[in-house]
Symmetry: C2
Subunit: 156 residues, 2 copies
């Protein structure tokens, strides 16, 4: 602990950060593994399908989608390639902007999402929500809202 001056960060604060890293990693890996073995779906793929399912007309512009799933645009291009190859998503041209493409959820994609969702939710429950008291979940929500507020000023 000699490395970490008290004036900068207390040991407790640093511990909190490291615990957060570990907890998030653990839950993510657990979720990813379960989704993969049960439905052959990577977590990023699930997120894409979910975002599309929630979007109006089951479609989103590539750029927009990339922002929502925390993936670079190039990363999303490849991911959509795979999903399209598997028939879960199709690309459609945008009428109002010839540069634009929509990623559109197909019926098989929606079905696959529906299959996988129970696994996903069960994972979040068992690895995360069930371990916290209801009041704590609310606390977390409030705190995360503060962190999320930075996103706006952060990514102009």
């Amino acid at each position: 602990m000699t490395l970490l001056h008290d004036e900068s960060l207390t040991a407790e604060e640093l511990t909190v950060w490291r615990m957060l890293q570990r907890a998030q990693m653990r839950v993510t890996r657990h979720l990813e593994a379960e989704l993969f073995v049960a439905h052959d779906l990577a977590l990023a793929s699930y997120d894409v399908l979910l975002q599309l399912a929630e979007a109006p007309e089951r479609r989103l512009r590539m750029n927009d989608l990339a922002g929502r799933v925390l993936l670079s645009r190039s990363g999303l291009t490849r991911l959509i390639d795979r999903l399209q190859r598997d028939g879960l998503v199709v690309r459609e041209a945008c009428a109002s902007d010839a540069r634009g493409l929509y990623a559109v959820l197909t019926d098989p994609g929606a079905a696959r999402l529906a299959q996988a969702t129970p696994t996903y939710l069960r994972g979040i429950r068992s690895q995360f929500l069930d371990l916290l008291a209801p009041g704590e979940i609310e606390q977390v929500r409030v705190m995360l809202a503060k962190l999320a507020a930075l996103d706006l000023t952060d990514a102009p």
Copy 2:
């Protein structure tokens, strides 16, 4: 909670999980980027150096270290390769077990860690801790402790 089906997480609960994902990702990327531009260190590299610095005699067995930095053993092998190439770490044989290797922090490694640490701490502060009230940090710590408790039953 259990009276509900798997499908029925409340919107709030699901939102909390997604916000957590985003927040963690945002902070991690910010930290990684700053460490990289300022000290040419990946976050994983920083973690390794930090773990070694805190370990007795600045050394840890490869296997042990892999667990602490949430990296697969093969991933750690490559990472230590790089760090060793850069002179920040050396491998040393283990006297009591001829199979074993220690990763040992060198003086240049410790110096590099010391240089990078202010950046690291500043990042955690600005992106995470400063956004929460002191009481909230304690709340988070308590919750994370619950999540971390699962690690034991999870990875025997």
